[in-house]
Subunit: 428 residues, 2 copies
């Protein structure tokens, strides 16, 4: 025993090995990373944190498990006739990433099929009929052209009678923008479209990807013909929620249950079974979904704050439309303020800029009638988007402005409830 | 009886009267408002909603109570020696408003003393030694000059040995900006500074002002020498929270418990007594508070979104500093994106613009080291503000840039924890 331990001590370890370090004070177990500092062991703990330990403090280093060799199983098209078929669109993000043992950060999987290799359980719930990966991007790099590309692929799958639903894996950064875009682009939706994610890369024991993917698979073959985000309902690994694509927002940088339903209940709770909690459009396999991905990119999303310069609104006059996150019930600085925004907003609207207001509070609904400030802003022609989320409103504005034939009814279209983006039942 | 009812029917009522309307379907009780439409009774319900009823559907209108005559008691300086003294700064907002029965909206009280008239209970908890009203504004019209004015008045009161604490009544729209500003402007704080608000005007039975004001008074004579917002902890009228001025945000347009603690627990729960829930600086009546209200207004608060044009960053180069609400752990579109923001950010920083990043998710902490996108953004010189709130970061940036002698240590100062604006203990 002693001899073997000696051999393992300070030797033969390489980045990626699972190791146990002993210092006078404690024992630390984790994955060894390449350390940027000499004289320091950098360890990725089970919690996901990295910790640096001075080599001189370590009196013993034991290799608990050797670095796993990367084996990429090729994707085999072996369908189980008792299960329903889904198509998987892999767009990138942490869920299609693994830890890079050289930097301690994460990097993309080289092949989308690797994802299935990490989650063999998925095959017991659904047949993954096809894996399509149009690109592999972290979601902060995506834009409306990527939304269109995903939408096009989804339409092909949804209109294929052998496919019962679609799962899209995606980075979390802009996931709720993409879910909004698909909610508007996919008209007459016939089957479930489920976006899912993970906050921890798939090769990590603490990854949240498995529960999310399995719940996503259950929703993808469910009765809800909705665009949904599926993810952890709490920080435990017990169940997931399915959120309506237009009523969900990333509300935490790193927690597993980062996504929250805003201004309505989630559509469903997904444990062993699915419990529906809110209304949804029912599946209709005989229908065909229609792609309507017209989009005008000359839009911006800005935020009102105290002391905001009126020239900022002037600057945005070069755009076709803007969403302003306004104060509370629907206010910006008015004629009692040193910097009155009302005249410049009126001028911009008179010159053709579409300006919509959403609540900066995120939760709740605009009600510009209560205060004179709101009534003043309303008179400029600003469109008050009820309880719509800023990000959803941004995407919807681009979509509405993309339709040239809607030019005379922009306000009407912004306030038409296309995909559950307005919940008229919540409190004013 | 019949005769009397006949007399009351469709007669003698005026806006402001409490009335009961009977239709075939229902009975409706509320305050009669001046209706913009002929042929319609406009009623303010107890819930605060306005409802319109066609006159032709009303078979009976009973006046339950006549409009209350406005009586303004003059403020009497009668101090109870068994109670502690506080000063009250009245800055405006709904809490100093009442329903305008002509529009159904709310308007400001004509004299700040009216506020005390609505809340006689306050006098059983503290002596209101002075009422100072520098201005009466809805908070969306306020800016940094107003913050300075409030701070100056607060300093005078706090450094007066006869005053144990300060209450500031304020509109909700930008309340958390003002609480941040006071948190930075008031150095070596000696006594409590409590901001409070209401979501419903003070003359309404359903007003939340009473509980908030009473809890504010308890905090103002407490041991916590902190700038705090005090308000409803839930939608019931049972208890309040005291939130740290730099760690609180308005998170709902209209609920009583609109303000939420972000990334830390509230400082205290205030029911009958005060239960402290978090750390605070202790009161020290022998200390003198110092005013440090230097402020640079050439700052802006912007938000990253998919497809954001790089020219927007160029535009903001005319400012001294900007806060960007970035995606999740600290990302913007990078070199994998069609519109790469990294070069323009680098250029702006090289030319002297201070750019700081805060999490768009509101909750959680930035951790730019996890992904290459974050590391890329870090290399441009963007300052990552940990778990700081966007609004707090905006105010802090103006304050730090206001100090010319800090010019060479802006990053250090932005990351120095002056007033609890950074909570290093929360999860990355």
């Amino acid at each position: 025993m002693e001899a073997k331990e000696d051999k393992m001590l300070h030797k033969q370890h390489e980045p990626g090995d699972k190791v146990k370090l002993s210092t006078v004070k404690e024992e630390i177990e984790g994955i060894l990373l390449e350390s940027p500092e000499q004289g320091v062991y950098l360890i990725k703990l089970k919690s996901g944190y990295n910790i640096g330990i001075k080599k001189e403090d370590v009196h013993r280093l034991e290799i608990v498990g050797k670095k796993k060799e990367e084996k990429i199983a090729s994707f085999k098209h072996s369908l189980n006739k008792n299960l329903k078929n889904i198509d998987l669109i892999v767009s990138g993000g942490t869920i299609s990433s693994k830890v890079d043992y050289e930097t301690g950060g994460v990097k993309s999987l080289t092949q989308p099929e690797e994802l299935l290799q990490f989650y063999p359980e998925l095959k017991e719930i659904v047949n993954v009929r096809k894996i399509i990966s149009p690109f592999s991007k972290f979601s902060e790099d995506m834009d409306s052209l990527d939304w269109k590309e995903i939408a096009k692929i989804a339409v092909q799958s949804l209109n294929d009678e052998e496919c019962e639903g679609v799962i899209i894996t995606h980075g979390t950064d802009t996931l709720h923008y993409t879910s909004s875009a698909l909610s508007f682009f996919l008209r007459d939706l016939n089957k479930p479209v489920v976006l899912t994610y993970s906050q921890r890369s798939s090769d990590r024991a603490s990854s949240d990807a498995q529960l999310n993917l399995i719940a996503a698979a259950k929703m993808a073959v469910s009765e809800a013909a909705e665009v949904m985000i599926v993810g952890h309902a709490s920080s435990s690994d017990d169940f997931c929620y399915a959120f309506r694509g237009t009523k969900v927002r990333k509300m935490h940088t790193s927690k597993r249950d980062a996504f929250k339903s805003i201004n309505e209940r989630p559509i469903a709770k997904i444990g062993e079974k699915i419990e529906f909690m809110n209304s949804f459009s029912p599946r209709d396999n005989s229908k065909k979904v229609k792609l309507d991905d017209k989009f005008n990119d000359k839009i911006a999303l800005i935020k009102f704050y105290p002391g905001m310069d009126a020239e900022i609104i002037d600057y945005y006059s070069r755009y076709q439309g803007i969403i302003i996150e306004v104060a509370v019930l629907g206010h910006v600085a008015g004629d009692e303020a040193r910097k009155n925004l009302i005249p410049v907003l009126r001028k911009a609207i008179d010159n053709g800029l579409v300006i919509c207001a959403v609540p900066q509070t995120i939760y709740g609904r605009l009600n510009p009638l209560v205060y004179s400030a709101g009534r003043m802003l309303m008179k400029t022609g600003v469109i008050f988007l009820e309880d719509m989320l800023p990000e959803t409103a941004f995407v919807k504005l681009g979509w509405v402005l993309g339709h040239k034939d809607w030019k005379v009814k922009i306000k009407e279209k912004m306030l038409e409830n296309f995909s559950g983006e307005i919940n008229s039942r919540i409190e004013k």
